[in-house]
């Protein structure tokens, strides 16, 4: 029986593939992989359902419902020694070992544990992939140098997994599928050369391939039990009988087809709950718990070199609706101390309708925040402590007196005095706005009144603390038709009898009691 190369692209996307000869010339069959070589490290966790229940319980068995009946899925070493075996009914298991603890299998818990492991494995590689319910893959070609070679890396991973209480089967191969299958086959394989993949896979029983039992049964019926047998079948017939997917899988495992994987991304938003055993209304205690949550948050962000600008504390009550307390900062930060100080200011004013039963801390969207280097203070002076940056100061002020009460200012290019400036948001991330050009030769007061103040007049002359003496003017400022806030004013600089410099104008538009109205608009401070 000889295998023919596929001719039509839908079946296998491969051009000019040499005829796969299953005799001795594997080197011919082993096509080059992608230009840059990859090496995949597979961590297979066969006992994950058991290990996900946590350490501690010696007599533990995980049961699963199969076709309406509960069966033992996995049992701990101790329980197995007592005769508890997979497939037994819970009652039989309990009869064998009365102290046995039975746990229902929880796929969600397993997934969570797997993700935690993936996060932990990220220290070994930048590319970690959750490849199945119990399989993790690492791309390690780039990590070998850093971790002192393949052996050393493998040892470090194995040691770490063991310390965390996981019994894993590890395998290394140039393709992700080959690594997975070898790990499932409990072969302590370590294949670096793509040319050797075929030889390693050939003897692997098909049960390692995670194919459906029906497929395996019919293959077994044909006398085909390992991967090598499979490869000897004609490709078209194999694809027709068992699906193109399986053929593609074989090709991917051997490296004939690319096998792109998605890198697992650790969550970048923090969310943690603290649940209390009983309701608490002691505010000091609640603050302490919040502080702990903030510490966990800081650790979370620190390992990712991230910071956040927003946090949300939620205080849950038994009967009333949850109270939320959002915190915002002017600058992304992760320091627990900084957030705690903001929290304390806001918490003072927070009204809690009922005692609290749980507290949740949710981090906002994160942004990169690199560490800052400390400064050496060798210049003899004691280093000044508790210095804040402007954004921290603005935050502190705003936390107590309100966001709108703390701002910067900006000059705006507008000839109308009241529009020639604006407030500047210190919390906006953008840089300083382009400032209006300084206009020389015109006189403007340092103080501007929020609203022009109507002045009383005497024979058409304005009065303020007495009769005003005009120093300069008029400066005629007019129009603004484009936004319906047009003006028509003559501005004068005047001195009051008591020596104050005033900026007054005569409104040429509206007349007040038959006479042109005079207003005070600014003070030359």
């Amino acid at each position: 029986m000889t295998m023919r190369p596929a001719r039509r692209p839908p079946v296998i996307a491969r051009d000019n593939a040499p005829p796969p000869d299953t005799s001795a010339q594997h080197s011919q069959y082993a096509l080059p992989l992608a230009k840059e070589e990859r090496l995949w490290f597979c961590v297979y966790l066969p006992n994950l359902p058991l290990e996900a229940c946590g350490p501690g319980d010696k007599d533990l068995a995980v049961i699963e419902e199969q076709q309406g009946v509960h069966r033992v899925l996995l049992a701990s070493d101790h329980a197995r020694a007592a005769g508890v075996l997979p497939g037994q009914s819970p009652n039989a298991a309990l009869a064998l070992l009365p102290t046995l603890t039975l746990e229902e299998r929880s796929v969600i818990r397993e997934q969570q544990v797997l993700e935690l492991l993936a996060t932990w494995l990220e220290q070994f590689s930048s590319f970690v992939c959750v490849a199945g319910p119990d399989v993790l893959l690492l791309e390690i070609a780039g990590s070998l140098r850093l971790f002192g070679g393949l052996k050393s890396l493998r040892r470090q991973v194995a040691k770490g997994l063991e310390a965390q209480g996981f019994g894993a089967s590890l395998a290394i191969a140039p393709t992700p599928l080959a690594a997975t299958w070898l790990a499932r086959g409990r072969r302590r394989a370590c294949i670096r050369e793509p040319a050797n993949v075929m030889a390693a896979l050939r003897n692997l029983p098909l049960s390692c391939l995670d194919w459906p039992p029906t497929v395996l049964e019919s293959l077994a019926g044909m006398g085909i039990t390992d991967v090598g047998d499979c490869l000897r079948l004609p490709r078209e017939g194999f694809a027709r009988r068992f699906g193109v997917k399986r053929l593609l899988q074989l090709d991917r495992a051997l490296g004939h087809l690319p096998d792109p994987r998605n890198s697992w991304r650790a969550p970048e938003r923090f969310c943690a709950d603290f649940e209390m055993t009983e309701e608490q209304s002691d505010r000091e205690l609640l603050l302490t718990i919040c502080h702990e949550l903030l510490h966990a948050h800081e650790q979370f962000l620190l390992s990712r070199q991230l910071g956040t600008q927003r946090l949300l504390f939620t205080f849950f009550h038994l009967k009333a609706k949850a109270t939320s307390l959002p915190l915002g900062g002017a600058r992304a930060d992760r320091a627990a101390g900084h957030w705690y100080e903001l929290l304390r200011l806001r918490f003072e004013k927070l009204v809690l309708p009922e005692p609290v039963i749980a507290i949740r801390l949710r981090g906002g969207t994160t942004q990169a925040l690199n560490g800052t280097s400390g400064r050496l203070a060798f210049d003899g002076r004691a280093p000044r402590e508790h210095y804040y940056s402007m954004s921290q100061l603005a935050e502190r002020l705003a936390a107590r007196i309100g966001n709108e009460s703390v701002h910067g200012v900006n000059a705006v290019a507008d000839h109308r005095p009241q529009y020639a400036w604006s407030t500047r948001d210190l919390f906006a991330a953008r840089a300083v706005d382009a400032l209006a050009r300084v206009r020389q030769g015109i006189e403007r007061p340092l103080w501007l009144l929020p609203e022009p103040e109507l002045l009383s007049t005497d024979n058409g002359y304005p009065l303020h603390q007495g009769k005003l003496r005009f120093v300069s003017g008029p400066e005629r400022l007019e129009t603004g038709w484009w936004d319906e806030h047009g003006i028509a004013r003559d501005y004068y600089t005047a001195i009051s009898p008591r020596g104050a410099g005033l900026w007054v104008f005569r409104n040429r538009d509206r007349h007040h009691g038959g006479e042109a109205a005079w207003y005070l608009h600014g003070i030359f401070g």
Partner: protein, 215 residues
């Protein structure tokens, strides 16, 4: 009795930290030039006292009370960042009575990007904000218009100014003239049809004086 032992016992006595000698008082620190030569001459250190509280008692607004500060403030916000502060050169305005007008400030040379305006809602928040701004080490100068400023509050501001290395300027009405204050410098500014009068009421390390038509 040899003379020697007398002098040595005197020296021993002088070593006692409780003995304070007028001569050993440190000379005034270098001041911040006010930009008005006439005033600089009368101030110890040749200018405004840095890292201290200055009180300006004004009869009314509009007699040049801001103009008096402008050259010094302008030099502060263009100054090179100092070694010990994080981000210096900010000027905080706490509870100003009117709106500081940016076009005029810009003309005086103030960097608008370094202006912080704080409008607290009550008297205690004014002092709290000013204290925070002073001790933060970020603000080169903090101008405040307190509703009340008793002896204790002025002492706190003075301490905060020292801690943050910041210049505090409190504007107060003339009626505060007889209230005790911990300020390093107290000025009184008044105006009449004859001209403007600036009196140095109190000056640490200096002496009172009266100046005319400085601004």
């Amino acid at each position: 009795m040899p003379r020697n032992s007398d002098t040595s016992s005197l020296e021993k006595l002088l070593e006692n930290p409780r003995v304070w000698r007028a001569r050993s008082q440190p000379g005034p620190a270098e001041g911040l030039s006010s930009g008005y030569a006439q005033l600089d001459r009368m101030l110890p250190g040749g200018g405004w006292p840095r890292q201290a509280l200055t009180e300006i008692l004004v009869e009314q607004y509009g007699i040049g009370e801001l103009q008096l500060l402008m050259p010094a403030l302008a030099s502060l916000c263009t100054e090179e960042p100092g070694a010990e502060s994080v981000e210096p050169g900010w000027i905080a305005w706490v509870a100003p009575p009117f709106q500081p007008y940016p076009p005029a400030l810009q003309k005086c040379g103030i960097n608008l990007a370094r202006m912080l305006i704080v409008r607290p809602r009550n008297a205690s928040e004014v002092l709290w904000s000013a204290e925070q701004a002073l001790s933060s080490g970020t603000c080169a100068a903090v101008l405040l218009w307190p509703h009340v400023l008793d002896d204790q509050a002025s002492r706190r501001l003075q301490l905060a100014a020292e801690k943050g290395g910041s210049w505090a300027i409190a504007f107060r009405p003339l009626s505060a003239r007889h209230e005790p204050s911990a300020a390093a410098l107290r000025l009184e500014l008044s105006a009449s049809h004859r001209g403007k009068r600036l009196a140095i009421l109190k000056s640490r390390g200096g002496s009172p004086a009266v100046l005319h038509d400085v601004v």
